[in-house]
């Protein structure tokens, strides 16, 4: 297509705003150009879309695609060149206990992220882990997981993982390393370890803590440093100010009626996010005959998962959030700021409404500050919660689960200082990637060279490995023993499911090498530690019980009584509101919602996962609001240069409605340079701009730079939705209570008799499978998308293919904006196959490759599919996905054991789509038949349902009137997407309910 010529851009945001305000404007919208409908603005905002791309499939992009396929998806040049050795297939002579071929086993283990553990149950087929689920017994999982947990499976099988011990970049071995280490250690032992330094990430492992304790005992002058780029320094600092000690606030969202999130993404990026999301949404659901909902206010600079679910969301820069906190404190009579420091009419109104709401819900509210806010905000929030009587009811305090909680930035600064002075002789870096993610002003990578012997334990050969003398491959958590605590203190044993795939070691084994000349295995180390704890009278019984349950019973921390020191808080608070130069731009850093701090950058599943709200894949961007974009005359894909203290970053812009004005957010973790094939050349490195002083935010100058960049989004493509399109339904709690049938009455559902066929005919037997998705409780966290990908062997296609509109996710999370341009509401809608009873796709398939089974499932027969794609054209929901090229990797050996053996790996040229996890239904059907009983309600969990933190997805048998699904379908909020087409979808939705504050109704 002829690209629309770039012209002088004139902006007409005023027109957009007017249109959104006017009653005939669209109620849901996604793309600014659609709302604007002016030609100039169309062109202004339009340039990111695929029609602008140079779309010739040229050699370069093809090569790039192949390269991407290499690591997490396809291409195994080497493997395909070597002939596989002849193997004999023989049955087990001694059948391993409990192992029945074809029957999966589940093992309890735990994964840590940011140091904090989440209990997992991992499915294992013939000895190789294939799927990760949450452990329902674990208090921080309750059966749910997030996208990171799901994707960690791919990390295990990543062909680009580090596979061998490296010495100065050359392949070496563990024994050679040990002898080299011992030489240095002997010197250190004589000198009491004065030159020995250990750098770890945030740790909660009791065993590791004990081991480091042992090392420090043997080498009294040695030091232990901790650093992780996404840390809780501010939370710790706040507790230190408020209580004089580091404690962890434990929130009870199930008890709170009013929640105020001050830049806190507690439903997604908090160590206890899974639990908190569940608790919060349980207090929000009105489906179970409840008529009450909690209310969430969010004040934040950039739309987060939590903010997108708020009843009222106020976009403010991070410094303004701080001001807001001070002003809120003043309203509540805490701190010494005054509310008048805080200006702005509508903001003032927001502030008073929040304060009033909080005051009427004393003891039933929560104010929570994010880890990005400075310590005194946390301290102030503790004081406000105390003043509101929340402490002890909705919040209590316990010890922190971190082994060595403190200030990590300071800890790293100390280490860098010592490196500078050349005092570090042996530096042991256990995990992490400080050369990439340390604050830029530390110049860690440069000073790392000052260490005489630097050893890096890491699962991939990253930027830090390249600078260390020794690199030891680290075992994945699914192939090594360890232990860890979760946010509430509950300890779990990390249990491996498979022998190490490569010559890796765990941190425990490496530390043991410092203590003993013949290091023990990690199993012995962990087991011996727990034996020494003397928790159980019969150790063997207790140990087995613990491994089976996935957690050490009764290890959650007891409530700690703490004394609030108002004096300290007052002293820490700034005298006046933080000012803002109108010319300056405030840059804020965030962990990336898909690759976190960069550790998952080589994970294709996460790279291709569309980020919540922006729906970007494979990239980060400088996120700015429409007003700022207008002021700076930049549009999507334009490069800008951000400069802070002489450090510059050239990064393209992505306009995000809901961003605060005069601020820009860049997600961390992209722009990795030493990485496997997947993460190479993805995104832009925001760590370049991050310094210890501007750890979460800082002032930068923003200048338009030359050049344009093409993003790959899965949904940005000019999306608009008007209320007449019966796609998304929402209302307020008040509406619903006053008029419960409001959804049904505004839906044009054709009568069952509008058919040429006998409407009374019973088309389907029992069971009749169906799904219900609650739009109120869906938080848009993406866990379901990845669970589906993992369960159903869905391939990764790479950025170029996503840009072409060929992503393969069977389940997508659509997101729509509603309301005003600068303060939009945000709405998420997971869309799997609707399994229509009168499915349009089936009618048009010439070979009958898609058809219904007797249970009402819309099936896709891959073997029969010839790939006309007519079914997709005729699908009004566009949930079908096509293998335009050979996307699935048939060759890479390490990926083969990862696949779900019960799901076909699809080949090029066939259509695929959500099957309602038909393989899980089959398992349940076979089990039920063997036991001569019907399938129980809740026995079949689809992958998306099982993973959902908020239980927004319910699946079951419609023909059983007592099933949960049958009851949900009768709920007045139940609606079908595009009901008027008479496709009779089996997947239906419960309309979204908001609970706005009447005092603010027309503000947000």
């Amino acid at each position: 297509m002829k690209p629309i010529a770039q012209q002088n851009v004139t902006f007409d945001l005023a027109a957009i705003r007017a249109r959104l305000r006017s009653s005939d404007g669209p109620r849901y919208w996604r793309s600014l150009e659609e709302v604007a409908r002016t030609r100039e603005f169309t062109e202004f905002l339009h340039r990111e879309f695929p029609e602008r791309a140079s779309e010739w499939i040229d050699g370069l992009s093809r090569r790039h695609f192949l390269k991407l396929m290499g690591a997490s998806l396809a291409l195994a040049g080497l493997a395909s060149c070597t002939r596989q050795p002849a193997e004999k297939i023989v049955p087990y002579i001694r059948q391993p206990e409990e192992l029945l071929s074809g029957q999966p086993l589940f093992f309890a283990t735990a994964m840590t992220l940011g140091g904090y553990a989440t209990g997992l149950l991992v499915e294992s087929h013939n000895g190789h882990p294939t799927k990760i689920e949450g452990n329902p017994e674990h208090p921080m999982s309750l059966g749910a997981t997030n996208a990171f947990h799901q994707a960690s499976l791919l990390d295990l099988y990543d062909p680009d993982r580090s596979q061998a011990v490296l010495h100065q970049g050359q392949i070496s071995n563990w024994e050679a390393f040990l002898s080299a280490l011992n030489d240095s250690l002997q010197t250190q032992e004589r000198r009491k370890g004065v030159g020995l330094r250990i750098l770890t990430e945030t740790g909660t492992s009791p065993t590791l803590h004990a081991q480091i304790g042992g090392v420090l005992k043997k080498f009294p002058e040695a030091r232990w440093h901790q650093y992780e780029p996404i840390n809780c320094d501010n939370v710790h600092g706040g507790a230190q100010i408020a209580f004089g000690q580091i404690v962890a606030p434990q929130y009870r969202f199930d008890r709170a009626r009013v929640v105020v999130a001050l830049d806190s993404d507690f439903m997604f990026a908090h160590p206890a996010a899974l639990r908190y999301a569940r608790d919060f949404m349980n207090a929000r659901r009105v489906t179970a005959g409840r008529s009450e909902m909690n209310r969430l206010y969010a004040v934040e600079p950039v739309p987060t998962v939590t903010g997108s679910n708020a009843d009222h969301r106020l976009p403010l820069r991070m410094s303004e959030v701080t001001n807001f906190a001070i002003a809120l404190g003043a309203e509540l009579g805490v701190g010494r700021g005054s509310a008048t420091n805080f200006t702005g009419v509508s903001d003032q109104r927001f502030l008073s409404a929040v304060a009033a709401d909080l005051k009427t819900h004393r003891g039933q509210s929560i104010i929570i500050a994010g880890e990005t806010q400075p310590p005194f905000v946390h301290a102030l929030v503790h004081a406000m919660n105390q003043a509101l009587g929340n402490t002890g009811t909705t919040i209590h305090y316990t010890a922190s689960a971190e082994s060595n909680a403190g200030n990590q930035v300071q800890s790293l600064r100390d280490l860098v200082d010592e490196l500078k002075q050349g005092r570090v002789e042996v530096l042991l870096i256990l995990g992490g990637n400080p050369a990439f993610n340390a604050p830029a002003d530390f110049a860690f990578a440069e000073h790392l060279k000052g260490a005489r012997l630097a050893i890096h334990l890491s699962s991939d050969r990253n930027e830090t490995s390249a600078l260390c003398h020794w690199h030891i491959p680290q075992n994945h958590y699914l192939e090594s023993w360890s232990d860890a605590r979760s946010y509430d203190g509950t300890a779990s044993i990390v249990q491996p499911l498979i022998l190490p795939l490569y010559a890796g070691r765990s941190a425990h084994e490496l530390l043991d090498a410092l203590l003993q000349s013949h290091p023990r295995t990690d199993y012995d180390i962990v087991r011996t530690f727990w034996q020494s704890q003397q928790r159980w009278n019969d150790f063997e019984r207790g140990w087995r019980r613990t491994l089976h349950d996935g957690l050490v019973a009764e290890t959650a921390f007891p409530i700690r009584q703490v004394e609030l020191s108002l004096d300290q808080i007052t002293r820490a608070a700034p005298r006046s509101a933080i000012g803002h130069l109108p010319s300056a731009i405030e840059l804020s850093f965030r962990p990336d919602p898909t690759i976190w701090d960069g550790r998952f950058a080589d994970n294709g599943w996460l790279q291709e996962l569309p980020k919540p709200i922006t729906k970007l894949t494979w990239d980060n961007a400088a996120l700015i609001g429409p007003a700022t974009a207008q002021k700076r005359a930049v549009s999507n894909g334009d490069f800008v240069e951000l400069e802070a203290s002489g450090r510059r970053l050239r990064v393209p812009v992505w306009i995000t409605p809901g961003m605060a004005d005069d601020c820009v957010t860049v997600h961390l973790g992209y722009g990795r340079t030493r990485i496997g094939r997947v993460g190479r050349r993805a995104g832009f490195d925001a760590f370049i701009l991050r310094s210890a002083d501007s750890f979460w935010s800082g002032l930068v100058t923003l200048n338009k730079a030359s050049g344009r960049y093409q993003f790959a989004t899965t949904q940005g493509h000019m999306v608009i939705d008007s209320a007449e399109r019966e796609v998304y339904r929402a209302g307020t709690l008040a509406d619903f209570l006053a008029h419960p049938e409001f959804v049904k009455e505004s839906t044009r559902t054709p009568s069952a008799h509008e058919t040429l066929f006998n409407p009374e005919a019973q088309l389907f037997d029992s069971p009749r499978w169906a799904m219900s998705i609650d739009l109120t409780t869906c938080i848009g966290c993406n866990a379901c998308v990845l669970a589906c990908q993992s369960e159903n062997n869905i391939p990764v296609v790479g950025k170029a293919q996503v840009a072409r509109g060929r992503e393969m996710h069977w389940l997508r999370v659509d997101s729509y904006f509603s309301g005003e341009l600068d303060r939009p509401g945000m709405n998420h809608q997971p869309v799997p196959c609707m399994h229509c009873e009168t499915a349009p796709c089936e009618l048009v398939c010439p070979v009958g490759a898609t058809l219904h089974d007797h249970e009402g499932l819309n099936l896709q027969v891959y073997n029969r599919c010839v790939g006309t794609r007519y079914c997709s054209n005729n699908c009004p929901y566009k949930v079908r996905r096509f293998n335009f090229l050979q996307y699935a990797d048939y060759h890479t050996p390490s990926l083969k054991p990862m696949r779900n053996p019960n799901v076909t790996v699809r080949w090029r040229g066939v259509m695929e789509k959500c099957t309602y996890c038909v393989q899980r239904i089959s398992v349940a059907r076979i089990t039920a038949k063997n036991e001569n009983r019907p399938i129980r309600d809740g026995e079949v969990l689809t992958a998306c349902q099982q993973v959902c933190p908020t239980e927004a997805i319910i699946f079951g048998d419609l023909s059983d009137p007592n099933s949960r699904i049958a009851k949900l379908k009768k709920h007045p909020l139940d609606f079908s997407m595009l009901a008027e087409l008479n496709t009779r979808p089996r997947t239906t939705y419960l309309a979204k309910l908001r609970n706005p504050n009447p005092a603010l109704e027309n503000v947000a």
Binding site: M1, K2, R30, P50, E51, A53, E55, W56, I57, Q715, H717, M718, V719, I720, D721, S722, E724, R725, V727, Q801, G805, R806, R812, D814, S815, Y816, Q829, V831, P840, L843, V844, C845, P846, V847, G848, R864, V866, G867, T868, R869, Y870, S872, N873, N874, P876, Y877, K878, R880, R881, F882, N883, F884, L885, Q886, R908, G909, V910, M911, L978, L981
Partner: protein, 462 residues
Amino acid sequence: MSSSRPTSTSGAPLGYPTELIRSDSTYESVTDTIGAIVLTKKHPRSWLVGFTIGFALLMLFLVAVAWLLLKGVGIWGINIPVAWGFAIVNFVWWIGIGHAGTFISAILLLLHQKWRTSINRFTEAMTLFAVACAAMFPLLHLGRPWLFFWLIPYPDTMGLWPQFRSPLVWDVFAVSTYFTVSLIFWYIGLLPDLATLRDRARTRGKQFWYGTLALGWRGSAKHWQRHQMAYLLLAGLATPLVLSVHSVVSFDFAVAILPGWHSAIFPPYFVAGAIFSGFAMVLNLIIPVRKIYHLEGVITPRHLNNAATVMLATGLIVAYGYLMEAFMAWYSGDIFEQFMMVNRTFGPYGWVFWALMLFNVLVPQALWSRRVRTDTILLFLVALSVNLGMWLERFVIVITSLHRDFVPSSWGMYVPTFWDWATFAGTIGLFLTLLFLFIRFLPMIAISEVRELVAEHKEVKA
């Protein structure tokens, strides 16, 4: 061929060109003029140039198909939601072009339109080649093209049959039947001419090949009588096919629920569009050929005038179709239909729609003028515009409808790739190659039928 009405040569009403054949033509001159092109005359340089271009494009086609089979349909620009792209656009376009031949041969034969005689052979050949080009696309566009035969009902060991409710299965029948009948019709018409060539050939090779193909035609009265009967019967068979093929092709769209496709007007509107584009292609081919091979005596201005008139008439039907689509979108009150129309006209592909309006509706209005209808250059340009316009029409129907349908989150854009264009250009190459070979080796005008015209001419004179 029996004809009850003499062909008029004088008293032209309103000064329209009426001559079907130059008045001084004789049996000998007709046979010589047409037969010599194949047998004796040296072919002009323009033939070589044209053939070379066509053949080069054909080679490009082979490369494109090889790459396609190697990599998959992902080499094209298609995606979700636009799962059908150039392949289907081209399919419908070619099959539309393939309508003029049979329309001219069969329907006009049954309607005793004598003017068809000079151009029917050529247009039948054009039909065959166009349908051959068209038929390749539905096969190539399959995700797994080597399994195309699953669309054909055959006793499969698994007891599987095609899904007969799908219009794609109807397509298989419609297109294959049409191709078969067109081929037989064309070949039967060729028989007497092949015999003429056999008799006039001077070399052993030509005598052998034309003799074999002539199936022992001796020109006996019995031969003629049976030939005429078969020809007439086949014309009767082919006539409904002209209407059915494109109706069935239109079902590919009309049966779907997609706004922009789901429309009851599609069958007649598609048939009219097909004849429209078919005649345009006939004119685009015949005007240069007539000039190069000096066939003005056989293909007279009257032929051009009549073809142009048919084009104008069908063009108006097509324009009515466009109007009705827009009207029904509004009148239905269906928001999706209404949005489709707005998006079609003012969406990202709006310029395609307006180009279509220009080429297909506005430009053909020039045909109201007799001067345009008889001026070969102007007529050639109008026909070109219609061919382009009809291709754009299929683009609008297929791609603009698909790219934004019901759920806005799934909207997308379609951008053709190099391989999309290569495949399209490649089929043009195949078409041209076959056509130039046809001109080189077979009589492009039905000698026997033109001689019949001469006979009638003489009778009238006498």
